[in-house]
Point group: C2
Chain length 355, copies 2
C-alpha cells in the first residue's frame, strides 16, 4: 500500500462506521507534535537544516523495526502534484498549510488505510496523527503513542524536564497532544441550542472548529471539538476529558433528535426529504450547499427516516465532493462551475446507487 | 353525468392535452354574458325577482330541445356545500364571487365533461362559458354561441340595437364576450423578458391576470390573457385578435425556451431537476411553492428534460392541490398546515405513479 493507493481511493479508515457506534461522532483523532533536538524549528529551516531534519526522520522510518512504521509509506511533498497534496488535505491526512508548501524537505507518511499519518517539517518537525471512525480517543492515543515510541527509537526529541515536549508554537508545549472529535449536531442547530452549547464547550477549555480544523468555517452542522490545553495535564487526562465532554454532547444531541422527531415530525421529514430530493436531482451544486444537504440526509439516515443509504457512503461523499477529489476524478483542472456540475454528478451517482 | 360527477372527478375537459397542441397554451375559454329583459340586473335582485330569473333560465334549460342544454346538469348553489362550491371555482367552472354566495336564486349548469358551464345570477343573469384544452378559441366561441342560441330559444335577452347585449358592468356591454387563454411562460420569466411582453400585451388592449382571473396574482408563470374590449368589434374579430396575439406569445416563448436549452443547459436542468426532486420528496408544501415547482417540472416535460410525466397529470395536479380539492379528498376540513401536508402527499403520489 502506497500513498498513491490512498490518493486514488475514495475510502480511508475514518469513514468506516463501526457496528454499535453512535452516529453522532464521525471520527476521533489524536495528534502528537514532536521536534528534533539541535535542529531549528521548521519556520527557521533552510535547505541544509531542512534536509537534515528530513534525513533524520527518514532514517528513523527506514531503520526502526516497529510494525507501525513498517506499514507506513513516506513521500516528499515535491514528488506530489498540487492536486494530490490537496487530496491528502481533503482526506484529513495533511494540513492545508503543509499541502501548500513545495520545499523539498517537507514530506508525509501514511499507513495502508490512512488511520496513521505523519507530516514532516510542517509547523513542527514531526506531527503524527491517528484518525479513527467513531468515538475512540483512547485507541487513537494508544496508537499515536506507539508510533511515537517507534520514531523515538531512532530520534532525539527536543524535550525539557519541566515543560515537556518543545514545540514551535507555545500552545503545543508539554504533551504536544491535540485530541479532537468530529461531531454532527443538526438537532442542536435546528432547536436553536447550538450557540449556547458551543459557548459552554469553549468555557470548558475546548475549541470548536469546522470540518477542516483551524480557520475553517463550520458547514453542514459538522464540528471539530478539540482540547486547547497541552500543558499540566497527562495525555490520558486530556483524552478522558474530551471523551467525557463528547459523550455529554452526544447525549444532548440524541435527546434533541428524539424530541424533534416527535414535536416536528412533518417539518423534519420535509427537510430531510427535500434534501434527499435535491441531492438526487440537482445538476449544479456548490460545496457548502451539498454539505448542508448531506447533513440533512445523514440525520434522516440516523433517525431511520431514510433507508437504504449507508453512513459510509455519506462519509465518502463528504470527501469525494471536495475540489481536488472532483478534479482527480474528472482527470483535469476544473473551474468552480465545472466542479459544481461534477459534484452534482458524483452525488447523484452515489445516492442513487446506494438507494 | 351530474354536477356531482364533476365534483368528484380529478379530471375535466380543459386538462386534456390534444395531440399536436403546443404545450405553452394550457386552455382557451370564451364566456358570454347575457341578461334577461324586464328583470333587474343581479345586484338589484331580491328574493322574488331573483327567483323569477332563476325560474326563466331553468325553464329554458328544461324545455329547449338543444343537444348542449340536454347535456347539462343544473343545480342551485344552496344545494351545494361551501366546499363543493369552492371545488367548482378551483376547476374554473364558477367564479369565486359566485361560489361565495348562498342565496337561493343562484345556480350553476355544467355539461358532462366540464367543457361547458353557465352561472345563473352571478354578475349577470347568465354567464355561459366554453373551456377547452389548448388554443381553440374559435371552437370555444362556436360552442358558446350554439349554447347561447339554445338558451335564447326560450329566453328574452336584454339587447339594444345600438349597444348590443346589455350587461351589469359596462365593460361587458356589446358582445358580452370575454375570450381568454391560459398560457405558461417560464422562459420569458427566466430570461427577464416577461414584464416587457406583459406591458406590450396591455398596450394591445389585452388584460393579463393570474390562474384564477380577476384579482388573482400570477404564480408558477401561468398567465390568463383576455380581451378588454367587448364593444365595437365582432365576436369573431375578438377571438381572432386574441388568437393572433397568443400565437405570437407562443412563438416568442418557444424561441426563448430553445435559447435557454442551449445557453443555460446545466442551470435549466438543475432548476428542473431540483423542482422534480422536491415535489417527489417534500412532506409539507404550500400552494404557491407547489405551483412554482410544477411550473419548472412542466417546462422540463415540454423540453424533454423530464420523461415519463404527462402534461395531463400536471394539469390535474394544478387543481388537485387547491384547498377545497385537498379537503374533499381528505374527507374533512383542514387548516393550512394540514393542507400543506396533504398537498405534499397528493403530489408525491401523482409524481411517483406517473414516473
Amino acid at each position: 500500500m502506497s500513498v498513491y493507493d490512498i490518493l486514488n481511493s475514495s475510502f480511508i479508515k475514518w469513514m468506516d462506521v463501526p457496528e454499535g457506534d453512535r452516529d453522532i461522532v464521525i471520527s476521533s483523532r489524536v495528534r502528537l507534535a514532536r521536534n528534533l533536538g539541535e535542529i531549528p524549528f521548521p519556520h527557521l529551516l533552510d535547505q541544509i537544516t531542512g534536509s537534515k531534519s528530513l534525513e533524520l526522520i527518514s532514517h528513523a522510518w527506514k531503520n526502526t523495526p516497529g510494525p507501525l512504521l513498517a506499514d507506513m509509506d513516506m513521500i516528499a511533498l515535491d514528488q506530489l502534484s498540487p492536486l494530490d497534496r490537496q487530496i491528502l488535505t481533503e482526506k484529513h491526512l495533511s494540513s492545508p498549510q503543509h499541502a501548500d508548501a513545495t520545499c523539498a524537505y517537507r514530506a508525509i507518511l501514511v499507513n495502508h488505510d490512512g488511520s496513521l499519518a505523519a507530516m514532516v517539517n510542517e509547523e513542527d518537525h514531526l506531527r503524527m496523527q491517528c484518525l479513527l471512525p467513531g468515538i475512540r480517543l483512547r485507541e487513537c492515543y494508544a496508537t499515536a503513542q506507539a508510533l511515537d515510541d517507534e520514531f523515538e527509537y531512532n530520534l532525539d526529541y527536543a524535550f525539557d524536564e519541566e515543560r515537556g515536549y518543545l514545540t514551535a508554537c507555545p500552545t503545543n508545549v508539554g504533551t504536544g497532544l491535540r485530541a479532537s472529535v468530529m461531531v454532527h449536531l443538526p438537532a442542536m442547530q435546528m432547536s436553536g441550542q447550538l450557540n449556547h452549547v458551543l459557548q459552554n464547550i469553549g468555557q470548558l477549555g475546548m475549541a470548536v472548529r469546522g470540518l477542516y480544523g483551524e480557520g475553517s468555517q463550520p458547514v453542514g452542522n459538522f464540528y471539530q471539538i478539540s482540547n486547547q490545553v497541552t500543558l499540566g495535564q497527562t495525555e490520558e487526562d486530556i483524552c478522558t476529558y474530551l471523551q467525557t465532554v463528547t459523550e455529554q454532547i452526544v447525549e444532548q444531541e440524541g435527546l434533541l433528535r428524539e424530541r424533534l422527531k416527535t414535536d416536528l415530525k412533518y417539518q423534519l421529514e420535509d427537510k430531510i426529504g427535500r434534501a434527499y430530493g435535491i441531492l438526487c436531482n440537482a445538476r449544479v451544486i456548490a460545496s457548502d450547499e451539498a454539505l448542508s444537504l448531506l447533513s440533512d440526509v445523514r440525520l434522516g439516515v440516523d433517525l431511520g427516516i431514510l433507508t437504504g443509504i449507508s453512513l459510509l457512503a455519506l462519509n465518502e461523499l463528504m470527501v469525494a465532493i471536495r475540489p481536488a477529489h472532483l478534479q482527480k476524478l474528472g482527470g483535469r483542472e476544473m473551474d468552480a462551475i465545472e466542479r459544481d456540475i461534477k459534484r452534482a454528478e458524483v452525488i447523484q451517482a452515489k445516492m442513487t446507487s446506494v438507494k
